[in-house]
């Protein structure tokens, strides 16, 4: 009886193995599922992308706009470009900051894509970080001397002005100056040439007394020939009664 049982078991095992082996093998091809019923599919939505070679430019520079699209029948790029092909690129030179928008239209609807170009004014030619020039320092530090009517005497305010001028001239010992004597319109042409000469000489003499060598200063009288101001008022006359100090060329 035992033998029969063993045989039965062996057979059964064999069957299982065969079955397992069979199971490990490629499954037997199944019949394809029946196709779905033919429903009406909606058209695909168009897609579009727009890119720029740069989004920050200076006024006058150009950028390249590049775009691509799907499912679009017409593409319009604005402002200023118009209808374009489904894929492509173009160069634009926006005068000011501009948002470019491309609109794709197809059977599936519309889509758009935008890119903003910021346009900035060109920077100033040179950043103002230079040292002040000698002329600028001269104009800031050198003060003219003003005079009373028909006088060539150095007043207190002229003393202060010339002292400041003298300080500047001492710091720039290579600098030479011209002292121009000027007058208001009231005296005669000829007398004013003399008076202007004396004013220029007074200013020069005062600077010499401050230690500025005389050979650094030339004088010239313009009388009333080169007024700073032309109204017939005391304010204007005072502007014209002066020793005007300029850098020698």
């Amino acid at each position: 009886m035992r033998t029969r049982t063993y045989t039965k078991a062996l057979f059964g095992t064999l069957l299982v193995v065969v079955a397992l082996v069979a199971a490990c093998k490629k499954p037997a091809p199944q019949a394809p599922p029946p196709p779905p019923p033919p429903a009406v599919a909606p058209p695909a939505r168009p897609t579009v992308t727009l890119q720029s070679s740069s989004t920050f430019i200076q006024k006058g520079e150009s950028v390249t706009l590049t775009w691509s699209s799907t499912n679009a029948t017409t593409l319009s790029l604005s402002p200023g470009v118009g209808n374009v092909s489904p894929e492509g690129s173009t160069r634009v030179t926006p005068p000011d900051s501009t948002t470019y928008t491309i609109t794709a239209t197809g059977p599936g609807g519309t889509a758009d894509s935008s890119v903003h170009i910021s346009v900035t004014a060109p920077p100033p030619p040179a950043p103002v970080t230079h040292e002040p020039s000698l002329q600028e320092l001269f104009d800031k530090e050198v003060k003219d001397a003003f005079f009373d009517f028909d006088k060539a005497d150095i007043r207190a305010d002229a003393r202060d002005a010339l002292s400041q001028t003298g300080q500047f001239l001492r710091s720039y010992p290579q600098l030479k100056v011209v002292i121009e004597g000027h007058c208001d319109e009231r005296g005669s042409t000829e007398y004013n040439l003399a008076l202007g000469d004396r004013r220029a000489a007074s200013a020069k003499q005062f600077l010499v007394s401050l230690g500025i060598p005389a050979d650094r200063m030339e004088t010239v009288s313009y009388g009333k020939e080169r007024p700073f101001c032309s109204a017939s008022t005391e304010e204007c006359w005072q502007q014209n009664r002066r020793a005007h100090i300029i850098m020698a060329k």
Binding site: E190, L193, V220
Partner: protein
């Protein structure tokens, strides 16, 4: 009126030269013309032969001998009339009183038509003008129409090219002949010129014009500043203040420049240190006096005519400028100095000795002295307190004063005509600075310039 009145007159010279007159009869006429004034005469008049009745003179239209000559004949007559009118020594008969017929030669002269009222002329200028090809010929006479039997007082023939400018020149010459005869030999001024400063080119440059304002033309092109022109006594050069490089350095300073009227170019002249201005010729033309600060303060210096041998004349604490030589003596110089505080008038000898302040009866700036040709009068500009600059004439010997302008803007820089009867000056009376001339008694002012700003006139010595 703070003015001093006087019976001072200056007709003695005219009386003295009477023996030179053309005819005995004419001498009689002129003696009447320049007879001493009535005792009641109480008038200060500058000039010659003023204060007596003036001769009535008519100028007939000069006949043109061809159609093209007719407008030139009219122009000639107009210029002669204008010159005679401005001379101040005669009375011009109004053209509307003239008879219809103008004589073109002595044979055609109907004296009665001119002596009768309303013309009532004593003297008649007339003549003719012919132009053939480019040859101009003008025959001109002056007749004493009250004495028909006398030969012409003047008979002249002028020949030259056919153009307006030449016709004007001949008209001035003929007018000067008439004026010289009627003033007893003193020169007429119709052929003189006036140098002045104008800014109409954009810079102040030296210009010149005929004495009547015609023919204004630019002499210098320095493009800087040119001021204070003064004719040399022989009228061949003009000294003036220019801005030019001095002897050393690169700065433009006031210097003396000399323009040749013969070559129309600057004559080389030395540059001095400092401010150099206001040149004045000695009457013999051998020296120039000018203001210079070459040694420091502005003083008067004298050099020879070519700028050599500069010599300092004044030494003072203030500025000295605006020299004017006495043209008669050459020994005195009037000038302006502020040594007393404000610009005042001074006189001195030409070597700098005897410096004397000329006292005036009031305060105020005194500038621009100009000595009259006879050496007896000083014209100057004076700004009395609360007033504007006005022109005055002072008789040096007596210090008597005549005010020539009043309430008519700034009046400055008088310059005498060589006849001593006229002054040219600058005035702002129109609102802009312009050149004017007038009789030396302040009457008959007429404006000579209109364009731009014009100043500093100087009358040519001949």
């Amino acid at each position: 009126m703070g003015m001093i009145r006087t019976s001072q007159r200056f007709s003695t010279k005219s009386v003295r030269c009477l023996p030179l007159c053309l005819s005995v009869f004419l001498c009689g006429f002129l003696s009447l013309l320049f007879a001493p004034p009535a005792a009641s005469q109480d008038w200060f008049r500058t000039g010659t032969g003023l204060g007596v009745s003036k001769a009535r003179v008519a100028v007939a239209d000069f006949a043109g001998k061809s159609p093209s000559a007719q407008p030139l004949g009219i122009e000639f007559s107009d210029v002669v009339r204008s010159d005679l009118d401005f001379s101040g020594i005669l009375e011009l008969v109004s053209k509307s009183y003239y008879p219809l017929q103008s004589p073109s030669a002595p044979a055609e002269l109907d004296t009665k038509a001119w002596t009768d009222a309303p013309a009532s002329a004593q003297l008649l200028a007339f003549g003719n003008l012919s132009a053939s090809g480019n040859s101009l010929e003008i025959q001109a006479w002056l007749n004493d129409v009250r004495n028909a039997s006398l030969p012409p007082v003047i008979g002249k023939v002028y020949r030259g090219e056919v153009n307006d400018a030449q016709v004007r020149i001949f008209a001035h010459q003929f007018a000067d002949e008439i004026i010289s005869k009627l003033s007893g030999g003193l020169p007429g001024i119709a052929s003189t010129q006036i140098a002045f400063v104008s800014n109409r080119s954009g810079n102040k440059e030296i210009w010149a014009m005929d004495y009547d304002g015609e023919n204004q033309h630019q002499l210098t092109q320095l493009h800087t500043i040119a001021l204070t022109p003064r004719w040399s006594p022989d009228a061949t050069r003009i000294a003036f203040t220019c801005y030019a490089p001095p002897g050393s350095g690169s700065v433009l300073t006031a210097q003396i420049c000399i323009q040749s009227m013969l070559t129309n170019h600057l004559i080389s002249w030395p540059r001095f240190h400092g401010t150099n201005a206001s040149p004045a010729w000695s009457p013999d033309g051998s020296q120039l006096m000018f203001m210079s600060s070459m040694y420091g303060s502005p003083e008067l210096f004298v050099t020879d005519a070519s700028g050599g041998h500069p010599k300092r004349i004044t030494y003072s604490t203030g500025a000295s400028t605006s020299p004017s030589w006495n043209p008669k003596t050459g020994q005195q110089v009037a000038f302006v100095s502020d040594r007393g505080g404000i610009p005042q008038l001074y006189t001195m000898n030409a070597d700098g000795s005897s410096q004397t302040k000329v006292d005036l009866p009031d305060m105020g700036y005194v500038i621009d002295p100009a000595w009259s040709p006879n050496g007896q009068l000083l014209a100057f500009s004076w700004r009395r307190p609360n007033g504007n600059y006005d022109l005055y004439v002072m008789e040096i010997a007596t210090r008597q004063l005549v005010e020539l302008t009043r309430d008519a803007g700034r009046n400055e820089r008088p310059s005498w005509a060589p006849d001593g009867r006229h002054l040219v000056f600058e005035s702002t009376r129109t609102g802009t600075r312009q050149i004017w001339s007038m009789l030396a008694d302040g009457t008959a002012a007429r404006q000579l310039t209109k364009q731009g700003q014009n100043e500093s006139p100087n009358w040519s010595p001949k």
